[in-house]
C-alpha cells in the first residue's frame, strides 16, 4: 500500500471496494480511480495506442493521455474513461484496454519491434493500394491492432437530460482565479454560474500546501464554495465540464449526475447537457503542466510533478518511494518538498537551469542531490528502475529510482478560447501560448491568462470579475486582496533531450515520438496543422493537452523557426470527450424526433394499420385484414373496394391555411399561377404555385368561404414551407396588402370519402345535408353542423371517383370517423391508407411529391395552360426562361408495359428502343409506379422528353440497379376514366 497514514481530502471512515482487471482493491470516499490505483501501488494501467507499450498514470486531471479504462460491464460498459476523472464508488469495476491477452503480457507489443515501419505516415504509405483492399483488409486490421477501448454494442441503458442556463457571468473552472471571480461577482449581486469539472471546487488549492488568508488553501476553497452556495444569485455546477464555446455567447457543458454513485436513483439521468447563455464569461481553467521529451519518458512511473503533488496532498497516496525530479520550472521543486514531507526519498533534482530556487538548500540538507545544468537522458524499467542523467559537465550519472517527476513548465488551458477561431499567441516572457483575442464576452483569468503564481491568479480573478461586472453596469465593492504564501513560478522550458537508445515520446496517447516529428519535417510537413494530420500528434481523447506544444516546439526547432512563428493549432469543441448519449438526450429510439398523430391514429392502430412516416406525421399506409398474405393484396382490396363502393382515407395531414382579409384574393392571385379572385363563395379550385425561380413549389385546393376568407390546402410535405412562403409574401414582399394568414392544419381533421357510394354514405351520415349535384356540385363546398359542431364539406376528388372531403375540429375527429364507418356499413365501406391513395392518384395521373420534385415546371406536369396570362404571379418571369420552356424537357406521360405481367419500377430511366444504355441517350425517368388492380397490370407515371407528343411510342424502361430492361408504351397519364365522368357523377 502507498496510502499515507494521514492527510488528504479523503474520508478514511468510508472505505470503498473496487476492482481493476479483476483484482479487488479498496480506496476511500474522495478518491479518484487513479488515486486509488496509486494508493494500491498499481503502476501499469494501460497499453499505448500503436506500440502497445505499458503505460502508467501520467497526470491527475482531465488531460490524462494514458490511464484510459473501460468502466462497468455489459451494456453499462464505458470505454476510454480517464481514470483521473472517475470518482471512486463502492463496487466500481474497471478494466484496462488495448491489450491482449492481458495488461502485463500484451502480444501486440511486438509492434515495438516493427516500429521502423510504424513511423509517422505509416498508414498512408503502406496501405495505399490496391484500393479495394482498404475496406476489407487494411482498415479492419489496423483497427484491431491499434485502438482504444471497445463499445459494448448494446443499447445505452442510461438516460440523459438537458438544461438551459442563463447568467450574467459564467465562470469556467473553480480553481483560485475562478473562486475569486465568482466570489467577487457573486457578492456584488451578479447572476453567476460557476462550472467546474472536478467533484469539489478548489482546483490546485487542493493539490498544494499553500495558505490563503491564513487558512490551508483547501480549507479556504471549501469556505469559499460554502459562501457561494449560500448566494441566491450564484449557481455552482460541480462535475460540470464546459466543452465548447459557440456563437451568441453560448457554452456547452456536461454535468455528470450519477456516474459517481454506486446505485443511481430510479429515473435519474446519468448526465445532463447544459446550454449556457452568458453575457460575460471568465475562462479560469488553469494551466496544464508540460512533460519533457527524453528517452523512456513514457515509462510507468514517469509522472507529471504536479500530479505527484496532487496524489500526495489531495489523496494521501504516494506514487513512489525513491524519486528523481526532472524540472525546468520552480513548481517541480515544490513537488520535491511534498515528496520529502510524505516520507519519500528524493534522490536528485535534475534541473537544466543553472540557478535553483531559494528553498533548494532545505532539500539538500535532507539528502537530495541538486544537479543544476543537468538533464535526464534515459529512463529504464517498467515501472521505472533506473535513471540516466547527464550532468552539466557532460558526465553521466546512473541512479536507482522508482519515480521520475517531470515538469517542463505550464501551458494555460485555453483550448475553449480558440473554439471560435481566435488563434493563441506566443509569450516569450511566460514561455507559453496565451489568448490575445477571445470569443465575444470571454476573458481568461488566473493561470489560464498566464498568472501562474497563486497571489497573481487570485488577484486576476478579482480583476476580471470586476471588469465583467462593470461592463454589465454593476459595481463590485473593493475588498481586501487575498493574502497567500510566497510562491515562485519561474520557468525556462527545456523542449527536448536528444535520445539515442530509447524512444522519447511527444504525444503519449498517439505514440508520437521526437523522431516522428523530425520525419514529418523531412517529408515536408512543416506546418503545425500538417504535422498533426501526418503524425496524429494531438488527436484522440486528450487532444494533445499535455504533449502538443512540445511537438510544435520540436517542429519549430527542426524548421529553424521560433515557436511564435511555428504557431499552434486551434481547438474545436468538444474540449473534453462527450458521450453521444448526452447530446441525444431524450431523443432516441422511437422518440428520436417528435411524432405527429392524427385523430384517427388509435382507431387505425387497432384496425391493422401499418404506419408510414411522412415528415413527422404517422400516416396509415394500409389496413391489413386477417388472412391477407402481403401488403399488395391489402392495397389492391382497398383500391377495388373504394372504386367499386366507398372508401375512407384520413387526409388530415395536408397543410391547411386560413388566408383572410380584404386583400386575401389579391395575395392568392399573386401566389398561384391561376386566378382566385374570380372564385365564387362556396367553391373550391385546384391551384399550383411556383417558386421565384419558376419551378413548381406546391399544389392544392383553395376554397372561398367568404369574400375575405379563403381556406388553402397544401401537400403534407410542403405544409410548413407554404406557410412560410405566404408569410414572407404578405409580410416582406407586399406588406401593403391587408391580409392575414394562419395555419389551421391542427384544427381540422379531414376524411376523404371516395367511391360511387360516397354520396349515399354521407347522406346517411348527414341526412339534413343536400348532397345533390345541384346543391353540391363538383368543386362545391359548404359549412354545416354535425352533432352541433361546425363542420365543412368539400366535393373534391383525388381518386377520380365521386368523392368528398369532410372536416371537423380535430377533437371530434375520431367520433366523425366512427359515425362515417357506421353510416357506411351497409355500403361496404373500407378504410384505405396512403398506398391505395397513391395507387388511385397514379391511375388518375395526378402529380404528387414524386413529380413535384423541385425540378419540374407547370408545363412539365401538363399544367402549363393553367398559367394565367392576365396577371403577375411569383415565378412567372423565371418560368419563361428558355431552359424552362424547352419543348424537349421531360414532361408527364403514362407508361404501360408491353407485356402485361411485367412490373415497372420508379427510378428507372427511359431510352429509345435499340439505343445503348448510356447517359447521353437518357430521355427521362419513371417518377411513380404502381400495380393497378383496376387495370390488372403495372402502370407508371414518367417524365419523358417530348413526352406528350409521343403517345403510342415504345420506350425501354432501363433499370440497372434492380436489373432488367422492360419495354413500355407511352400513353396518357390518366389511366382510369379519362373523361372524368365518375367524379362529376
Amino acid at each position: 500500500m502507498s496510502r499515507l497514514a494521514s492527510g488528504g481530502l479523503i474520508d478514511r471512515a468510508r472505505p470503498l471496494r473496487f476492482s481493476f482487471d479483476g483484482t479487488g482493491y479498496s480506496g476511500f470516499e474522495g478518491d479518484t480511480l487513479a488515486s486509488a490505483l496509486v494508493a494500491n501501488g498499481v503502476r501499469i494501467v494501460g497499453r499505448s495506442f500503436k506500440y502497445h507499450r505499458p503505460r502508467g498514470i501520467l497526470t491527475a486531471g482531465s488531460e490524462e493521455p494514458n490511464a484510459l479504462v473501460t468502466l462497468g460491464t455489459g451494456a453499462h460498459a464505458e470505454p476510454n474513461t480517464r481514470a483521473t476523472t472517475v470518482s471512486l464508488h463502492d463496487g466500481l469495476v474497471a478494466c484496462s484496454q488495448n491489450r491482449w491477452p492481458s495488461l502485463h503480457l500484451d502480444l501486440l507489443a511486438v509492434n515495438q519491434l516493427l516500429s521502423p515501419f510504424f513511423a509517422a505516415g505509416f498508414y498512408y504509405k503502406t496501405f495505399m493500394w490496391p484500393g479495394k483492399f482498404w475496406e476489407k483488409l487494411y482498415e479492419p486490421l489496423i483497427r484491431r491492432a491499434a485502438g482504444l477501448g471497445s463499445l459494448s454494442g448494446l443499447p445505452d441503458p442510461d438516460s440523459y437530460d438537458r438544461e438551459h442556463g442563463f447568467c450574467d457571468l459564467l465562470v469556467i473552472g473553480a480553481g483560485p482565479a475562478g473562486l475569486a471571480a465568482a466570489l467577487t461577482a457573486g457578492r456584488a449581486g451578479v447572476r453567476v454560474i460557476l462550472a467546474d469539472e472536478d467533484t469539489r471546487p478548489g482546483g490546485r488549492l487542493m493539490s498544494e500546501r499553500l495558505l490563503v488568508d491564513g487558512l490551508p488553501a483547501a480549507d479556504w476553497a471549501a469556505s469559499a464554495a460554502q459562501e457561494l452556495e449560500t448566494m441566491a444569485n450564484v449557481r455552482v455546477l460541480s462535475r460540470t465540464a464546459v466543452f465548447g464555446v459557440y456563437d451568441g455567447r453560448e457554452y456547452g457543458a456536461v454535468e455528470r449526475l450519477t456516474d459517481h454513485l454506486s446505485h443511481a436513483p430510479a429515473g435519474a439521468p446519468r448526465q445532463r447537457l447544459w446550454k449556457i447563455v452568458a453575457k460575460r464569461a471568465i475562462l479560469a481553467t488553469g494551466a496544464i503542466e508540460r512533460p519533457v521529451v527524453f528517452g523512456g519518458n513514457d515509462r510507468p512511473g514517469v509522472t507529471m510533478a504536479s500530479a505527484v503533488s496532487t496524489y500526495i496532498n489531495r489523496f494521501a497516496a504516494l506514487p513512489g518511494r525513491r524519486a528523481v525530479i526532472f524540472t525546468s520550472s520552480d513548481s517541480g521543486w515544490t513537488t520535491a518538498v511534498d515528496l520529502q514531507a510524505a516520507g519519500a526519498e528524493v534522490v536528485a533534482i535534475v534541473d537544466p537551469r543553472d540557478t535553483p530556487p531559494s528553498f533548494a538548500q532545505v532539500l539538500r540538507r535532507n539528502g537530495t542531490e541538486l544537479l543544476p545544468g543537468a538533464r535526464v537522458r534515459h529512463v529504464a524499467g517498467s515501472p521505472v528502475r533506473k535513471v540516466e542523467i547527464v550532468r552539466a559537465d557532460g558526465s553521466v550519472l546512473k541512479l536507482k529510482a522508482d519515480l521520475v517527476a517531470m515538469s517542463g513548465g505550464w501551458n494555460p488551458a485555453i483550448g475553449l478560447g480558440s473554439n471560435l477561431g481566435h488563434r493563441p499567441v506566443w509569450s516569450d516572457r511566460l514561455h507559453c501560448f496565451l489568448l490575445d483575442e477571445a470569443p465575444p464576452g470571454l476573458k481568461p483569468a488566473g493561470a489560464a491568462a498566464g498568472c501562474f503564481a497563486l497571489a497573481d491568479a487570485l488577484a486576476d480573478g478579482v480583476r476580471q470579475a470586476r471588469d465583467a461586472a462593470g461592463d454589465l453596469g454593476v459595481a463590485c465593492p473593493t475588498g481586501a486582496a487575498f493574502k497567500t504564501s510566497e510562491e515562485s513560478a519561474r520557468c525556462d522550458p527545456l523542449w527536448h533531450v536528444p535520445a539515442a537508445r530509447s524512444k522519447a515520446f511527444v504525444d503519449f496517447q498517439n505514440d508520437v515520438t521526437d523522431a516522428d516529428v523530425s520525419l514529418a519535417v523531412r517529408e515536408g510537413f512543416v506546418s503545425v496543422e500538417h504535422l498533426k494530420r501526418y503524425t496524429t500528434l494531438g488527436m484522440a481523447t486528450d487532444q494533445g493537452k499535455t504533449g502538443q506544444l512540445n511537438g510544435h516546439a520540436l517542429l519549430a526547432a527542426a524548421t529553424g523557426k521560433s515557436i511564435a512563428e511555428a504557431g499552434t493549432v486551434l481547438s474545436r469543441p468538444p474540449y473534453q470527450p462527450v458521450a453521444i448519449g448526452v447530446l441525444a438526450g431524450h431523443h432516441r429510439g422511437e422518440h428520436f424526433r417528435p411524432e405527429r398523430r392524427t385523430a384517427s391514429h388509435n382507431w387505425a392502430a387497432g384496425h391493422g394499420a401499418s404506419f408510414v412516416n411522412v415528415g413527422q406525421w404517422k400516416r396509415a399506409q394500409w389496413y391489413t385484414r386477417a388472412g391477407e398474405r402481403d401488403w399488395l393484396e391489402t392495397v389492391n382490396r382497398e383500391v377495388t373496394m373504394t372504386r367499386g363502393g366507398v372508401g375512407i382515407c384520413d387526409v388530415s395531414t395536408l397543410g391547411k391555411i386560413d388566408v383572410q382579409g380584404p386583400d386575401a384574393s389579391t395575395l392568392l392571385d399573386r401566389l398561384y399561377i391561376n386566378t382566385f379572385s374570380t372564385l365564387a363563395v362556396g367553391k373550391a379550385r385546384y391551384g399550383v404555385m411556383l417558386r421565384e425561380d419558376g419551378f413548381v413549389m406546391d399544389d392544392g385546393t383553395v376554397t372561398r368561404f367568404a369574400e375575405d376568407s379563403f381556406y388553402v390546402t397544401t401537400t403534407t410535405a410542403n405544409a410548413g414551407l407554404v406557410m412560410q412562403h405566404i408569410d414572407f409574401a404578405r409580410q416582406v414582399i407586399w406588406p401593403e396588402l391587408d391580409v392575414q394568414a394562419t395555419s389551421v392544419t391542427e384544427q381540422w381533421t379531414t376524411y376523404s370519402i371516395a367511391g360511387p357510394k360516397s354520396r349515399s354514405l354521407l347522406q346517411t351520415a348527414f341526412p339534413e345535408l343536400d348532397l345533390s349535384s345541384e346543391a353540391m356540385p363538383f368543386m362545391g363546398a359548404a359549412k354545416f353542423a354535425w352533432r352541433g359542431i361546425g363542420a365543412r364539406i368539400f366535393r373534391v376528388s383525388f381518386s377520380g371517383e365521386l368523392a368528398y372531403e369532410v372536416s371537423v375540429p380535430a377533437l371530434h375527429g375520431e367520433r366523425l370517423l366512427l359515425d362515417l364507418l357506421e353510416a357506411g356499413r351497409d355500403f361496404g365501406v373500407v378504410a384505405y391508407g396512403t398506398e391505395a391513395l397513391g395507387v388511385m392518384r397514379i391511375e388518375k395521373g395526378h402529380a404528387a411529391g414524386n413529380e413535384l420534385n423541385g425540378q419540374t415546371t407547370a408545363a412539365d406536369l401538363g399544367l402549363g395552360r393553367m398559367m394565367s396570362k392576365k396577371k403577375d404571379f411569383i415565378g412567372r418571369v423565371m418560368a419563361r426562361r428558355p431552359g424552362l420552356t424547352d419543348p424537349a424537357r421531360p414532361a408527364l406521360v403514362g407508361l404501360k408495359p408491353v407485356e402485361p405481367g411485367v412490373r415497372l419500377r420508379a427510378g428507372a430511366h427511359l431510352l429509345e428502343c435499340g439505343k445503348p444504355a448510356v447517359a447521353a441517350n437518357d430521355q427521362g425517368h419513371v417518377t411513380s409506379a404502381a400495380w393497378s388492380p383496376t387495370l390488372d397490370h403495372s402502370i407508371a407515371l414518367a417524365l419523358l422528353s417530348h413526352g406528350p407528343d409521343r403517345l403510342g411510342e415504345r420506350v425501354v424502361v432501363h433499370d440497372p440497379v434492380r436489373g432488367g430492361d422492360v419495354e413500355a408504351e407511352v400513353c396518357s397519364p390518366v389511366f382510369v376514366d379519362p373523361e372524368g365522368v365518375r367524379m362529376r357523377g
Binding site: P662, Q747, A810
Partner: protein, 167 residues
Amino acid sequence: MAEHLIHSEQEGWALATVMARRAVGPAAVGAALELELRDEPVAVSNGAIRAIGTGPGAWLVIDTEPDHGFADALQDRLEGLASVSDQSSGYAVFRLSGAGARTALQRGAAIDFHPDVFAPGSVATTAIAHIGAIVWQVDDSPTYDVAVFRSLSGSFRHWLEETAAAL
C-alpha cells in the same frame, strides 16, 4: 430531492388565433374584446377571456369556460378589425405547476425563466424538445401553461413525464 411538479392537460378550453387587420392597432382590437392589448409577448385577461401575445398584431385568445360558437362570436365582435381562426382543437394546453415547474421548463426551452426575466403574464413562443410551444406564466406559485399543436401532444407528454421523473 425531487422537486414537485404537477402537470395536467386542459380540457374544454376554446382558443382562437386573432390577427389584426393591417391598419388596426392593438388598442382597437383590445377595445372590442374589453382587453388591454399590447403588441408585446404578454398575456392579459379581463376575467372572462385572456389574450396571449404571439407576434405583432397576433394573439391566441382563450376562453376557459366558453359558450358554444366561441370563435364565431369572436369574429362577430372583431368584424373589420381582425381575422379570427378557431384553434380550439389545434392546440393542446398543458398546465405545469409546483416547485419543480420552472426547472422542468428550463430543461425544455432554451429561454430564461428566471423570475426577473419571465414573470406572471410573460409569454414566449419557443420550442421544447423540438416541439413548437407557446408558454405563458399564469401565476407566481409558479404556474405555467404550454400550448403545443395537438398532433404533437403525445411526444410532448413523453418529454414532460421523463423530465418530471428526473426532477
